[in-house]
């Protein structure tokens, strides 16, 4: 990405910012989707990420990677959303629209997303608490270092290490439990 687009956007050029959205939409959307496991929520979260980036562009430090900065906004937003959801708190505009479409009629857009591999992955990482899940995705999918993860999630490096350690144990246990399941059913 040409840093000149970022500089232009920082000086209020909306067209330059739109270029940034086009460039970074997929890494941001992908993180939101893996965090939230659902297309509509992921789209809302990714849109909100870019809006927050737009509002806070003056605070972005050009010495840091722009992608890392965006992923940080997205990760924090998704973690907050899931905390709120767990506590049963919804902002008014977060209530889902009542969709009158018949869920049995296949929707080609949903079809792509709900394939069995993605579902299995979602079930696996959904066991983790949201910050641990974010750390795992950032390390093993985005290839971030522990230092980068600590910046993205606003944690110390040692906190990232202990979160990853706990997450790996939980992931291995989930795989083990899945393997035992058919044996239990056969008894």
């Amino acid at each position: 990405m040409d840093p000149q687009w970022i500089e232009k956007a920082r000086h209020g050029d909306d067209e330059a910012f739109t270029m940034l959205v086009t460039t970074y939409q997929t890494p941001v959307y992908n993180l939101c989707f893996r965090m939230l496991g659902e297309a509509t929520a992921a789209e809302d979260a990714a849109q909100e990420t870019f809006w927050r980036a737009y509002q806070n562009l003056k605070r972005y430090d050009p010495q840091r990677s722009f992608a890392t900065w965006l992923l940080s906004i997205a990760a924090h937003y998704c973690i907050d959303q899931q905390r709120k959801q767990k506590m049963g708190l919804f902002e008014l505009d977060e209530f889902p629209d009542f969709d009158l479409a018949d869920p049995d009629i296949p929707n080609p857009e949903n079809e792509v997303i709900t394939n069995s591999e993605d579902e299995a992955l979602h079930r696996l990482i959904n066991q983790l608490n949201p910050p641990d899940r974010a750390a795992v995705i950032l390390k093993y999918w985005y290839g971030c270092t522990e230092e980068e993860i600590s910046q993205i999630l606003s944690l110390t490096v040692s906190a990232v290490k202990s979160r990853l350690h706990r997450a790996r144990r939980q992931l291995a246990e989930t795989i083990m439990a899945d393997q035992l399941l058919p044996v239990k059913e056969g008894q």
Partner: protein
């Protein structure tokens, strides 16, 4: 080295020195639990690593541009409201200050003396009432004293009965609404 150490080596997922690596390999050959842990962890991490990238839906940027315009309008309105509020409240403060400074009759000192004299007047009225009551009680004959007590006492009882009745009525109404 004990089993727990090997377990935490596996879960740390960090590169080991050649010597530690050999030790771990030896332990894995004889400890089924650690071997399973390592295999299960590998399966899980492989699932994460090999997940396909989910692309943003088509028209994502167009939707962003549209909502950006709407949000900017909303933000401008909000800022305008905040500005109006700030301007009108500071205008009020300035107007009040100007009155205090430019109108000598309503200066701060006159306001303060006004407050003090009002308080004094209230105090005087209370004192006069008290002295009238005590004078009346001392000088009046017993029969008129009894009459006054009956009238005043009756009035107080009637007033509190009315009050109690209206409170009771209100309570009944509330219960009616709730149930």
């Amino acid at each position: 080295m004990d089993h727990q150490t090997y377990k935490s080596w596996i879960l740390n997922d960090e590169l080991l020195s050649g010597e530690d690596e050999t030790q771990l390999e030896e332990h894995l050959a004889e400890c089924r639990e650690c071997a399973e842990l390592k295999a299960n962890l590998y399966t899980a991490l492989q699932m994460v690593r090999s997940a396909p990238q989910i692309a943003a839906p088509p028209d994502f940027t167009q939707r962003f541009t549209a909502s950006l315009a709407a949000r900017k309008r909303e933000e401008e309105k909000r800022q305008a409201r905040a500005l109006t509020l700030a301007l009108s409240s500071s205008a009020l403060v300035i107007a009040f200050g100007a009155i205090l400074i430019f109108l000598p009759e309503i200066s701060l000192i006159s306001l303060a003396t006004g407050c003090v004299s009002t308080l004094l007047r209230i105090f005087e009225i209370v004192q006069a009432t008290a002295s009238f009551v005590s004078g009346f009680v001392k000088n009046a004959n017993p029969s008129s004293l009894v009459t006054v007590f009956v009238v005043v006492g009756g009035w107080i009882v009637l007033a509190s009965l009315t009050l109690a009745l209206s409170v009771w009525k209100l309570a009944i109404k509330k219960v009616g609404i709730n149930s």
